[in-house]
Symmetry: C2
Subunit: 268 residues, 2 copies
């Protein structure tokens, strides 16, 4: 786009949705602010926490693009917290500032390849090992490493302090399934093990009674399988960082910031 | 019950359901085996993994009572794994052995107080600190301890190697909300913080973008809140161990075993 042109919140949203077309049912809506407002600067983050919104405002931007929603609910259900002061303070901060907040979740997951998964693979320097990008998972064929070596490598590359593992940490792995975000559920993850002949699945988040228990059962049956759980933000943050780089290039005349928060969890 | 009486699988199920009455919609069904079979021995466990079923059979029992389901799905949905060998091997082991497997999930959570929560509180030696048992949570008032002290105490009492924490580990806490199992979701957990004036919530499992992010927002707003995530099995196993003690007393002439597995996850 040309310098000097006015770009609105709606223009930026259109730009981000364009690779996919328009989805009918999506959580990707403008959560706050005026779509016709001229964009003065953009902040991008994984999660629009109170602290992230404060940082965005401090940087003087008026558009925040995040992967997750505002109020601790995938579908923006705020019924049970209408009288909660944390919710009310956050809402007040947003409304009084006039900041536009756009959630980019479903669209970026529908980029080809999935923009979040691609960001994770790039952060891990694993692009050359990709065998196939499926809709919700990518299959990789890595030089042999043990589960522990892979876990340590991931921690170093993503700069995270821990991962959770199911299985034998000495198991050598080459065929790996990678699922960013909340795709660790049994319906998506479990069938991949046999269908794709995987040694290891690495996912962001999933129910503890689903895939982890399947892996334990497989091990009880003498099969060589393992699981690494990264954490939700840990698995998706790289995709949003990547997006920020892309937005910086395309809208190079606007200030564009990536806001990273400290890890949500610590292990004791 | 009198020695010498024949007790069937159905009799044991009736005994366990009796405190609640009959639920219309429940996942607590006989997953395998014949309800009229005479019970020769009972094994109780949190999760009916392949290894647990093998151990139960090795002990010569023909009834296994578990809190969670067989096939990595709360509602026994096996559509996506019908051709999976791990699933097929498990199903074969169960069918060929004839073992009866009863899931005791909804009923034990509806005991008054919740049998799973009560087991956790007892394992933590916190019975005398209970302020109120609500339907899905218990509120406790503890002598002041920091989040770290509470985490270390829990690890020692439950014999677990790690917990995950959100917030300042030096925060002194007294008012605590305790939610066993998958009750860490925002709808159940978040409103408790203000309604019950809690410093800390301790739950088993919940979505990472719900309560943990609320706690982070609260902290960003200068509020003193924290969260400890135990893990699903870690929060519910004590309740099933307790049940085993109860069943041993009532059916004292039958062999009754509790089968405990190693923790599902390790941290790297």
């Amino acid at each position: 786009m040309k310098k000097g042109m006015k770009i609105t919140v709606q223009n930026v949203m259109d730009l981000l949705m364009e690779p996919v077309g328009r989805l009918q049912n999506t959580v990707d809506t403008l959560k706050s602010g005026d779509p016709d407002m001229e964009v003065k600067g953009i902040a991008i983050a994984f999660m629009p926490t109170y602290g992230v919104i404060q940082q965005a405002l401090a940087k003087g931007v008026n558009l925040l693009i995040t992967h997750e929603g505002l109020y601790y609910s995938h579908h923006d259900n705020t019924e049970t917290i209408e009288n909660d002061s944390v919710y009310q303070n956050k809402r007040k901060l947003i409304e009084e500032s006039g900041i536009a907040i756009f959630r980019l979740h479903d669209y970026i997951h529908r980029y080809r390849p999935d923009g979040i998964t691609a960001g994770l693979i790039q952060a891990l320097d694993w692009e050359s090992y990709v065998v196939e990008h499926q809709q919700a998972a990518s299959v990789l064929s890595l030089p042999v490493m043990t589960v522990r070596e892979i876990a340590e490598y991931i921690k170093r590359k993503l700069d995270i302090s821990f991962v959770r593992v199911v299985g034998n940490v000495s198991l050598p792995c080459t065929r790996i399934g990678l699922l960013a975000g909340y795709r660790g559920g049994g319906t998506l993850s479990i069938p991949l093990f046999e269908k794709e002949k995987l040694d290891l699945i690495i996912y962001g988040e999933g129910a503890e009674w689903e895939t982890p228990v399947y892996v334990r059962d497989a091990i009880h049956q003498g099969k060589q399988k393992a699981l690494i759980v990264l954490g939700h933000a840990e698995s998706e943050e790289s995709g949003m960082k990547n997006l920020a780089e892309g937005v910086k290039e395309i809208l190079s005349y606007l200030p564009v910031f990536y806001i990273q928060e400290k890890p949500l969890f610590q292990v004791i």
